[in-house]
């Protein structure tokens, strides 16, 4: 069973609910938190890797709570019109999702490896890495 990488966005009420506990306990999912920005009484986001047969059920549970669930590799998009393939992003991407192909020195983006840390969106000199959440 291959892991599913998802981005969750939730409003102020949901931040107080123990959603990770529910995903593990009720849906028997293996949950790996890749990134989380959760503050009580504020809007939050979380990037999860979930594995398990009941993953769709778990995601439905989240949606019913009003959590926006999105596939991770739809989150960060490279604007190919803007990218000049300089490679500045490849030195700071923590997972190697942005990497250089050699010897062509062309920059590749593997969305499956992206953990939405957003570093590239700040560092890209051309503003080519865009957030579509």
């Amino acid at each position: 069973m291959s892991p599913k990488r998802i981005v969750l966005r939730f409003g102020t009420e949901t931040t107080v609910k123990p959603i990770v506990y529910r995903l593990v306990k009720d849906y028997d999912l293996v949950v790996n938190i890749l990134k989380a920005d959760v503050n009580p009484q504020k809007e939050g986001m979380m990037v999860l890797e979930v594995t398990g047969e009941q993953s769709e059920g778990g995601l439905d549970y989240l949606r019913n709570l009003g959590v926006a669930v999105q596939d991770l590799n739809q989150g960060i998009v490279r604007n190919d019109e803007k990218c000049v393939m300089c490679g500045a992003c490849t030195g700071i991407c923590p997972t190697g999702a942005l990497y250089m192909e050699r010897p062509s020195m062309e920059v590749r983006f593997d969305g499956d490896q992206c953990i939405v840390c957003l570093l590239c969106t700040k560092v890209c000199p051309m503003g080519a890495m865009e957030v579509h959440l």
């Binding site: 000049v84 490679g87 700071i92 020195m105 051309m126």
Partner: protein
């Protein structure tokens, strides 16, 4: 028998469609296959290319007169100030200029997503640009205020003049401190967390002519997607041969001032650029043709990434404090491999200069020459070379 060719002979071959033109990378392969002498005999022109951020760039704009006339004293283009200390409706827009209301580094690190370089790209992309001007009013130029929109085709002149482009070589930047620094060489993580470099190495124009044997005042070049010329040496033109053991021709320090008509350039080759925590600038595409007049020139043009080196410099402490020295030298072959070793530690490297774009420039210039559209120009004046021993000054404080 050593080969000797003249500019006139090479141009005659270009006009006849018989010139042999190769990119600097193709020349390297050719020399490996056939040897230097044979390659120098066969090849007439070698094309180079670089596409990287070049802050000392900008455009002179002559906006056209208003009715009544106006001697513009302050001018903003899309909110970015242009220099007006020249004639009435002439301005100079610099690539690194920022909007008056930019938060700069007050919210550190600042993003600098729009500046002079971006205005230049918008202008050359034929987008409408908001022009705002103020003046104090004179008898001959009474108008004091103007707000309108301009486009590149509606203004009289747009002349790119870049005082320092095509840096021959550049430092490989690292950070020895314990905190992240945001520099014009990009984001540098603490404790040698990464290394950034910024030339196209074996394709880079001035690395292929270390003694300025062919590139001089008047050399016709690829500039911003159009045709331009070398106007003079660039500012801070301090050509030298680096002190790398066993390497005789790994050069550094040379720069070019270049100029050309912005109206025939393209937004693909003039790209507004932002460095987190540093500022805005312009990435410029430049390609320089090197005529193979003799075997010596061919030898330099065929220098490979493993014969060309960069100094490794600490941008955490040494560079900002202007402390001389470096952490050693690394070859462009190593830099492009993705890993180098500094102070015994393996570090990942990343370029700020686009190799795919540099290759595209060298290939484009090659095609122009092959089609007979682009003839070579002999310099009307040579540029200072490493043998001229230029003295470098720094500012004195009383």
């Amino acid at each position: 028998m050593s080969v000797e060719k003249t500019y006139a002979e090479i141009n005659a071959k270009i006009k006849a469609g018989r010139a042999v033109v190769v990119t600097a990378e193709e020349l390297i392969t050719l020399v490996e296959e056939k040897g230097l002498s044979k390659a120098a005999q066969e090849v007439d022109v070698v094309t180079t290319g670089t596409f990287a951020p070049m802050c000392s760039s900008g455009v002179f704009l002559s906006l056209g007169h208003t009715k009544p006339r106006m001697k513009m004293q302050k001018v903003w283009l899309n909110g970015v100030a242009a220099y007006t200390g020249i004639a009435a409706v002439d301005v100079y827009l610099g690539a690194a200029e920022l909007p008056d209301d930019d938060p700069l580094n007050s919210k550190y690190p600042g993003e600098f997503r729009y500046g002079g370089g971006h205005v230049i790209q918008d202008l050359v992309a034929r987008k409408p640009i908001k022009l705002k001007a103020l003046a104090y009013g004179t008898d001959c130029y009474p108008r004091r205020n103007l707000e309108t929109t301009i486009t590149l085709d509606e203004i009289n002149e747009a002349i790119m003049y870049n005082p320092r482009n095509a840096y021959q070589n550049y430092n490989c930047a690292v950070n020895l401190t314990d905190h992240t620094v945001y520099t014009y060489m990009g984001m540098l993580k603490p404790h040698l967390g990464n290394a950034n470099y910024s030339t196209s190495g074996q394709l880079s124009p001035l690395l292929k002519d270390p003694y300025f044997k062919t590139i001089g005042v008047g050399t016709k070049i690829f500039l911003g997607g159009g045709v331009g010329y070398v106007a003079w040496n660039g500012t801070q033109h301090f050509p030298s041969i680096m002190d790398v053991p066993g390497q005789e021709h790994s050069s550094a320090g040379g720069t070019l001032a270049v100029t050309g008509d912005l109206k025939q350039m393209s937004p693909r080759w003039l790209v507004g650029t932002s460095f987190l925590g540093y500022g805005a600038t312009l990435s410029v595409g430049i390609g320089v043709p090197i005529p193979i007049l003799n075997e010596e020139i061919a030898k330099y043009a065929a220098l490979k990434d493993d014969e060309l080196f960069a100094s490794v410099v600490d941008y955490g402490e040494a560079y900002p404090s202007f402390t001389p020295g470096n952490l050693g030298y690394v070859s462009y072959a190593d830099l492009k491999s993705g890993k180098i070793r500094v102070n015994g530690k393996e570090i990942i490297t990343a370029p700020l200069s686009s190799m795919p774009r540099a290759r595209e420039i060298a290939a484009t210039l090659k095609a122009w020459i092959q089609k007979g559209e682009f003839l070579l120009t002999e310099p009307v004046k040579n540029l200072p070379s490493p043998t001229d021993d230029i003295v470098i000054h720094s500012l004195k404080e009383a």
